[in-house]
Structure formats: C-alpha cells, structure tokens
Amino acid sequence: MADLESVRKETRAWLEENCPPEMCTPLRGEEDVCWGGRKWKFSSDAQRVWLERMAARGWTVPEWPREYGGGGLSREEAKVLREEMRKLGCRSPLDSFGIWMLGPALLRYGNADQKGEHLPKIARGEIRWCQGYSEPGSGSDLASLQTRAEDKGDHFLVNGSKIWTSYANKADWIFCLVRTDPKVPKHQGISFLLFDMESPGVSTAPITLISGSSPFCQTFFEDVLVPKANLVGEMNKGWEVAKLLLAHERDTIGGTGLSTGETRPLRQIAAEAIGLENGVLADTNLRLQIALFEIDAKAFRLTNDRVSDLMKQGKANPAVSSLLKYYGTELNKRRQELIMSAGGLDALEWEGESSHEGRAARAWLRSKGNSIEGGTSEVQLNVIAKRLLNLPVE
C-alpha cells in the first residue's frame, strides 16, 4: 500500500496548493453550495476557481473514466481524496443530481453518444440536472406513473406532470420516467428520457413546504418534443434504470441521515441551551433521552461502516440500503425532535436573527419528509420483509 501513501501525499500537496482559502471554511448554508449549470452565478471568485481547478483534474467526479471528464481514480484512491479533502476542510467543488444519480445510470445504461454528450458537462458543472420521477398520482406506487411519451416516428411527444422535482426551476435538463406503453403491466411500459427544460411546453411551479420555501417544484409538460436519441436504455425498459437510481437516492438520504440545520452534537446544543448542574445536564429527563439517542446514532454510524466492510467482501445483500434508509431517517427525525426539546421556547422562533430565521424549527419540520422522500419508511419495511426476511408476498 506504499502506492496509496504516495497518492495521499500528492493529493494533499495539490489540494493545499489549489484550494482557495475561502473554500476551506465550513459551509454557512445552502447559499454556499455550488450546483453549477447554465444559469449558475458563482457566489465568489473562489467558488469559480475551485470548481474549474477540480474539474480540470477530473476530481468533481473522481471515479468516473477520464474520457468523460472524470479522474479515473480507483475506489481506494477516491477514498484518499475524500479523506484529504475532509482533513483540510475543503468544500465540495460541485454538488449535483447529475453526479449522484444520472451519471452512474448513464455509465451503466447510456450509449456512447449519450455518455460523450452529457457526462463531461456534468463533470464540469455546465449542465444542471433535475429528476422527474414522482407524480401527483404516483408517490410510493411510482410505477403507476402516467406522464406519457407518444412515439411520433422521429420524436416523442411528452404530456403530463411531475412533482417533488428538486430545483426544477433552476435545472437545465431533466431525466424523466415516462409511460411509453399503457397497455402492458405497469413496470413494463416505462422508459427513461432526457430532455432540455427550455423545450417549449415545459413549465415549473415551486412548492412551499410546512418548513417554508423549498427546492421542490411541480413540473408540467404540454406537448413537449423530445428527440428519439434521448432515450436511455431500451424502449419500455426504463424501470431497470429507475431502480438503479432509486438505490443511489436511498443511499444518499439514509447515509447522511439528511442532517439539515444544526451540525453540532446534540449534547453540545443541549448543554448550551439548558446548562449543566453538578456536571450533568440540568434537565435529567432530556439528558437520558439524549444519551439514548447518541447511543443509537453511534450504533448507526458503526452500521454504515460495517455494511461498507461487508460490501467490500461481497457479503452484503443490496436490500440492506433499505435498512440504512429506514433507520437513518427515523433517527434524524428523533434528533430534530430532541433539538426542539432542548431549545424549548427559543426553538419556536420562525423569523429573526437570533434564531437564524427559525433554523431549528424549519429543520425539525423539514425532517418529517425524510421518511417519506426516496421511498417511505413503510416501503423500506416492505422491501426488508420481502428481500431480507423472505416473508411471503400477499
């Protein structure tokens, strides 16, 4: 492993040399995240420089092949890069659904033209993508989706509506599940299409959540023309692509526990809000609940480690991502409840500087969606019951 050590040294030296100092400070909020895209306005020169330098090296997508703008790193080398970035406190140069979701799907199912056209633009942050999956009538039962793409010979004609499309109003392109055959069983008539959000007939409307404004939109398609070349994978085989993406989504949500708002340990938040008496938290009931939470949180972190160790040895059942998604999101909801409890009356503020515009209350309300989005907890439990426990299907 001497090789990895030299990779580590070089990586560190390059990062130290190239990461602008402003990009080595913690994110202050959503406004510091770089999403890229045609309409993107960099919040600072440093943000632009950091993206350009990382993209030039292929390190916005370190494990993608070089020919598509990636870094061509092995899994271990990419891990070294992540570790070194964490040590130096480097911000992510680019976040995007293109990187997390579409990219892996295109690498697996896209043809050479599609990969050559779309992947480098994702890697350089030139095109920002959104995901068209859920519909007003198709939530947990995603495969019942009704947005239609009619085959018109040289193109498709798309009509329908998507909901919960994150950042649809800011995205340049959409990857979208559409029904191409309404006569066959629901899973067998779905295709996976890519199209430009500036196409005539596409419109979006933002959605306000119980936590306030949100990235979510409803998206409408009225006689949208989509070239045939934008079909990914085979016609009517889109569900296969969708499943791969859903697994990535579950991992993203479950793995992070979706830590919105406060990042400090719960015990610290509580100690600052309530104070200590004789070395213990002044509210002894809350103290016990916090300790029980921190025990479960540590157990969950260790479980993530163990699952990745098992994966490396090829001993993990892929359905284990449902366990992580279920447990991680329920855990985050509990954490947010405890933060509210620790904050007491102060946590009830909705506006105002002292509460960072109601940060605690908004994060608490937002967390209620964690166990709904990306497959509800109930759907995850169904998956666990069937795939991991082999319980009989009704």
């Binding site: 213990v280 163990r306 169904n382 991991l388 319980l391 299907v393």
Partner: protein, 379 residues
C-alpha cells in the same frame, strides 16, 4: 479493523454453534430446571468446554489457556445465547479471568488460571449489594488490622455463587459508599470461615446466590490488585462482563427472532400464512433492523476490548444498552407473534424472555449505561 469476523472467528462460531446444538439445546436447560439439579449446570458439559479450549479462551497460553481475545469470547457467549445453556463460562472464563489476568500477581495467576482453563476451578465476581447495579456504592466493609482484614456485609446475585470455588469480592477498605476510591478486590476461597452462601432460584433457571460475609478473615495475600485502588480493575472487569452479556443478549434476541420469523412462515390464520400480513411484516422488519444495528456496536466493543482494554468503557456501554433493548424487543415481539402458544411453558420461546430479562438487568440496565455514556461525554 473491519467490522466483520475473520475466517478463524467464523469457524469458531460454527464449531460452537454445532457443539451447543448437539449437546446443550434448550431441552438441556429444561431438564436441569425440571429435575431441580443441585448445581444448575452440567459438570460433564463444562469439562467438554475445557476440552474445546473455551473454558480458558481468555487465559494466556503461558497459563495453559487458548489465549485468544474478547471477540472470540463474545462469539461463544453469543452462541450460548442461542441455546441458553447454563455454564460457568460467563462468571469464570470471562469475568473472573479478566480480573485475575489483569490484576493478579504471578502467584495468583499460576494458582488459578490453569485450573480455570482445565475446568477444575469455578470463580466468580461478587459485586452487587442492592437491587440496582451501582458498583460505586459498595458498602461491604473490609476492616484492616496489620496484614489482616475482616469482611462484613452481603452480596446479592453472585452469578454461580453456589458452585464457585473462588469468590472475587469487591469490598470497601476506605471512603464512603458512592466514592470510587477505597474499593479493594479480595479473592477468597468459598469454603472460608464466616461465609454463608444461599442459592437463589431465578426466573431464568440459571444460577446465582446471595452471599453473607460475617467477619470473614482475609490477608493481604487475598488482595487482587492494589488496596484502596480496585475501582479501575473492577470497572474494567465489569466491562468485560457487560460486553459478554451483550453478546449473549444479541444471541438470544437473534434466536427469538429466527424462531418467530419461522413461525410467521408456517402458521396459518384466515386461510393465509400470518407472515403475509403487513402489520406483522413491518414489525418483523423493524426488529431485524434493530438487531443488525446492535450487532455493529457489539463487534466494535469486542474489538476495542482486545485492542485497548482500558479505553473501551463508552463502546461497551453503548453495546450493552443497545443489546438489552434489541433483545427485549425481540423476545416481547416473539411472544406476541407466537400468540397463545408462546405463553405456554411447553413452548421454548418463554425461556428467552426470562433469560433476556436477567441479562439486561445484570451489570447495569439500559438506563444505567445511558447515564454512563452521558457522564463519559461530560453531560
């Protein structure tokens, strides 16, 4: 270190599993209970434990033990949780060996460790004095005059106390109950003068005793470790016991879950397998997640004990707290999902809820360990 068993460790688990299934299934425990066996465990079986190397699993090779670590001891404990086999493995091979190996002098080690490894000596720790585990509140006094001590007080729930040859007694030589300073460990022959041992018949049909010390004489030769400074080794010894109990809890929880899952796949009501009902599927899936998340803490705790025996307090408490909760959920759901048959003594699932109740209470329940985690993190 990867949170996965090595090949050798997996082999040990398989060997222990098949050995116990063959020689010591639940019917073995049932028989001991129904015949009111005076020992409460099988001495022949314990000899076989020694032949397998398990009695001396933590005893260094220099003292004729197997000299492997806590991960291996935990594997055996976990398998014991599947079969609920009563044996001195916990009291003697894990708890007593941890105290002796870490605090004993050479004479003490040579006198006791080889005998433990060959199953010729049963040893146990006498620590609790009150219904709830609060080791710093030890009040049993050891009054000193010159090189002699006199022990007065009582201990409860001394595991295997009625069959132990050697008692490791946590006594107070100075300070007041509630202080961690002033505690001393004494290793005493169970036959010694002034000692009264009364077997406690417990809910789980395993073995414990009340022990009364009526001016029991001891000398500095009986002291294990340092006088007045026994807290650290006591706490570490308890940690070894706690993680062993957590292993047994996880084994018992897993077994109760496996039996329940099998039942969901065979029992029919309303013309369907009850496992088809989503109400039960979700509860089973939730329980599975809980047990799997607990498993991660346990492996980490066992590995930490092997790597740095003195730095394991927090992860041990996390594992014990989690294992107690998960196993409790598993046995409670187990009884409920088995329905009426689960309430009958003839059916085995009841043995699991009884044993889990004991293991979760012993050496600190979930609240005790949550409090300890909070304290270790300064809140």
């Amino acid at each position: 270190m990867a949170l996965v068993l090595t090949d050798e460790q997996s082999m040990l688990r398989d060997t222990a599993r098949s050995f116990l299934a063959r020689n010591a299934s639940i019917s073995h425990l049932r028989q001991l209970r129904d015949h009111r066996d005076p020992d409460g465990f099988s001495r022949e079986l314990w000899k076989e434990f020694a032949e397998q190397g398990w009695a001396g699993i933590l005893v260094p090779e220099s003292h004729r033990g197997l000299g492997v670590g806590y991960v291996e001891a935990g594997i055996v404990m976990e398998e014991l949780g599947h079969t609920l086999t009563p044996s001195p493995f916990f009291s003697t091979s894990v708890v007593a060996v941890s105290a002796i190996a870490h605090a004993g002098n050479n004479t003490q080690k040579s006198a006791w460790l080889p005998k433990i490894a060959s199953a010729d000596l049963i040893a146990t720790l006498a620590v609790d004095e009150a219904p709830k585990h609060r080791p710093e509140k030890i009040a049993l006094s050891a009054t000193r005059s010159g090189n002699a001590f006199s022990l007065k007080g009582s201990k409860c729930f001394v595991v295997d106390g009625h069959v132990a040859d050697l008692l490791i007694v946590a006594a107070r030589t100075s300070g007041a109950p509630g202080e961690t300073g002033g505690i001393t460990l004494f290793a005493l022959d169970s036959k010694c003068k002034g000692l009264r041992v009364e077997r406690t018949i417990t809910v789980d049909s395993h073995n414990a005793a009340r022990v009364v010390f009526d001016n029991v004489p001891a000398s500095t030769e009986n002291v294990l470790g340092q006088i007045d400074d026994g807290w650290s080794i006591l706490d570490r010894t308890l940690d070894a016991g706690r993680v062993a109990l957590a292993s047994e809890l996880l084994g018992a929880g897993d077994e109760a879950f496996a039996r329940t899952l099998a039942y969901l796949k065979e029992r029919k009501q309303f013309g369907k397998l009850i496992g088809e009902f989503q109400a039960l599927q979700h509860r089973a899936a939730n329980l599975y997640c809980d047990l799997e998340v607990t498993r991660s803490t346990l492996l980490q705790a066992l590995q930490t004990l092997d790597e740095s025996f003195d730095a394991a307090a927090q992860i041990v408490s996390i594992a014990k707290a989690r294992a107690a909760q998960s196993a409790t959920l598993a046995v409670q759901e187990g009884i409920q999902m088995h329905g009426g048959i689960g309430m009958t003594d003839e059916f085995d699932i009841g043995f699991f809820i009884k044993r889990v109740r004991v293991c979760q209470e012993l050496f600190g329940d979930t609240n005790f360990h949550a409090d300890r985690v909070a304290r270790l993190n300064h809140y």
